[in-house]
């Protein structure tokens, strides 16, 4: 999904001279192309993320539209206070494309795995947070953040995420969508991990368990209405994310449930007070961290009383 987003940045670069591709010594095929063919719209800040972020805020204040592409941790965590003080007060028109979010860099280890980024950025005034699930969604979200004037964080994962949508897919900031109707349990998922939920839902259908699936790309502002409706319909809610359960989608959904007196059983699936365990392919990483389709099925069966609660 990262290239479908940066490809869209290239399209903006071609038609809007104020759009700048910003990076900090990071390889990306599309940005490398921009560097060669549109050098006046490309800035490499080197390995200096705090300066990169604050300087981009300065560029934005002069009417530029910086699209910063960085490993999300180096940007959202190392440069957090620079985002807070130089970008957020005036809602500067800076676009953060954070790669290696979630388990995408599963061979590299915890320094490169962004698993607390949402928790941090969600606390910042004016910051829009979007975690696309697929390449098409990432592309459409990139268009949406260009059209929106203000600070946006696009939580990009890695490469090769499966596609769930067709070319007609319309993305709207702040809107979730039901991608599978169901009546027993609702999974609210953000990011490409939704593919595991799709597989789990299909398997469970064979056991006559009806799973509703909500894709929740925008985490801030959160689509409260779709959550409230889900609790009325299924009474069982599970959140799913490649992120800590503290401060991420799970926390955001729980706030909606609590504040609206929703009567539902609720479970959060994500990292439980830990960093990503183990190394391996992304699939292996999901299994090691108990977030693959089998663990999702298990959790649902447990919730519906189809298993002993002790695992």
């Amino acid at each position: 999904m990262r290239n479908s987003s940066t490809n869209q940045v290239l399209e903006f670069i071609k038609r809007d001279k104020n759009v700048l591709a910003i990076t900090g010594d990071l390889g990306n095929e599309i940005y490398d192309y921009i560097k060669i063919y549109y050098p006046k719209q490309y800035i490499d800040y080197g390995i200096s993320e705090c300066n990169m972020v604050a300087s981009s805020a300065g560029l934005a204040r002069q009417g530029k539209i910086p699209f910063i592409y960085s490993v999300t941790n180096f940007m959202s965590m190392r440069a957090f206070e620079f985002i807070r003080n130089t970008v957020c007060p005036f809602n500067a028109n800076v676009k953060f494309l954070g790669r290696s979010a979630g388990f995408a860099s599963s061979y590299l280890g915890m320094t490169h795995q962004g698993t607390e980024d949402i928790a941090l950025l969600r606390s910042l005034p004016n910051m829009i947070i979007i975690n696309p699930a697929t390449p098409i969604e990432a592309r459409e979200a990139t268009k949406a953040i260009y059209d929106y004037e203000g600070a946006c964080y696009l939580r990009l994962e890695g490469a090769g995420e499966p596609e769930l949508f067709d070319e007609q897919y319309k993305f709207r900031i702040g809107k979730g969508q039901i991608i599978r109707e169901g009546s027993d349990v609702t999974i609210i998922s953000t990011g490409s991990i939704i593919n595991e939920a799709v597989k789990a839902a299909e398997k469970l259908a064979e056991k006559k368990v009806s799973v509703q699936l909500i894709n929740m790309p925008t985490i801030k502002p959160l689509d409260s209405e779709i959550i409230i409706q889900a609790t009325l319909k299924t009474k069982n809610i599970i959140t799913l994310e490649e992120h800590s359960i503290y401060g991420g989608l799970g926390s955001a959904v729980s706030e909606v449930l609590a504040e609206n007196n929703c009567n539902a059983r609720f479970e959060r699936m994500g990292l439980k007070d830990s960093f990503v365990k183990g190394f391996g392919t992304r699939e292996e990483s999901l299994i090691l961290n108990e977030l693959d389709k089998n663990n999702i099925m298990y959790k649902i069966e447990e919730m519906l009383g189809m298993r002993e609660t002790e695992k």
Partner: protein, 277 residues
């Protein structure tokens, strides 16, 4: 218009306004503000002399000196003078003790050190991309140069030949708790900035004409390097209990002899107390 500006008089008025603010508040970073009065006077009124005042292009990175910027804004009629006396008051005032972003012309809040210069590199870079012949001015503290992000920005500015970026270091030799040299010694600042590819000059930071002449000289002889002017200053300048004293940061002593302080500024206590609009 040219040469009609009495820079010394502007600096004197700024000092009086700053003193009046702290006379009222009894709290705040008085000594930080008093050390950069002439630097700010030179920057703003030099821009006026050149006919292109753009306060958005002046970044006070050492946000603790906010009072000096507010006072300058009052003199420049960007804010009303009477709002100066809201400084450090409780309630719905826009004038924070550190630099507030609620004031027109202030593009980022500062006070968290090491953020103003990185921000300013973006302003300067944008103007370079747009081929504008306009300058960006930054005021840093010498203690502030302990922040790593200052040097990230310094490397970037020199790599990108941001020669319209002019940084003043308000070198008063004191930081929050101690003499800079006793905490993390920054000497030689000059050699450090040179090594980072900057053109380095120094001035007496309380001689406003020396500063304006330096600005003129440098702007008329640009090469491809960004510029840093080390301004040697005295923290708390004008108040004997504070001047250059260890521990003067954030202090407004109860026993200031205001009449004595005002004597140097040719103002009586009576005038000072009634000094508003």
């Amino acid at each position: 218009m040219k040469n009609n500006i009495d820079f010394n008089e502007k600096a004197r008025l700024l000092r009086i306004d700053i003193l009046r603010m702290f006379f009222n508040s009894g709290h705040g970073h008085l000594s930080s503000a008093l050390s950069c009065v002439e630097i700010l006077t030179a920057i703003y009124w030099k821009m006026i002399e050149k006919g292109n005042l753009n306060v958005n292009h002046v970044i006070l990175s050492k946000g603790h000196a906010a009072a000096a910027l507010y006072a300058a804004y009052a003199q420049l009629e960007i804010i009303k003078r009477k709002t100066l006396f809201e400084f450090y008051r409780k309630g719905d005032t826009d004038l924070g003790g550190l630099l507030s972003y609620k004031i027109n012309g202030v593009d980022i809040p500062t006070g968290s050190l090491g953020q103003g210069l990185p921000f300013a590199t973006g302003i300067a870079k944008a103007m370079q991309l747009d081929e504008k012949d306009e300058y960006t001015y930054v005021v840093l503290g010498d203690g502030e140069c302990q922040e790593g992000s200052i040097w990230e920005a310094a490397m970037f500015a020199s790599q990108h030949h941001l020669n319209h970026l002019i940084v003043f270091i308000d070198k008063n030799d004191l930081q929050g708790t101690e003499y800079v040299s006793n905490v993390i010694n920054m000497e030689s600042l000059e050699e450090k900035w040179k090594a980072f590819g900057w053109r380095v000059e120094s001035v007496d930071g309380h001689q406003v004409h020396e500063i304006t002449e330096k600005i003129d000289k440098l702007e008329q002889s640009l090469d491809n390097r960004p510029i840093v002017i080390i301004a040697n200053t005295i923290k708390g300048k004008g108040i004997k209990q504070l001047e250059g004293k260890n521990g003067c940061h954030g202090q407004v002593p109860k026993d200031i002899d205001w009449e004595d302080v005002l004597k140097d500024l040719n103002m009586s206590m009576e005038e000072f107390k009634n000094y508003e609009e």
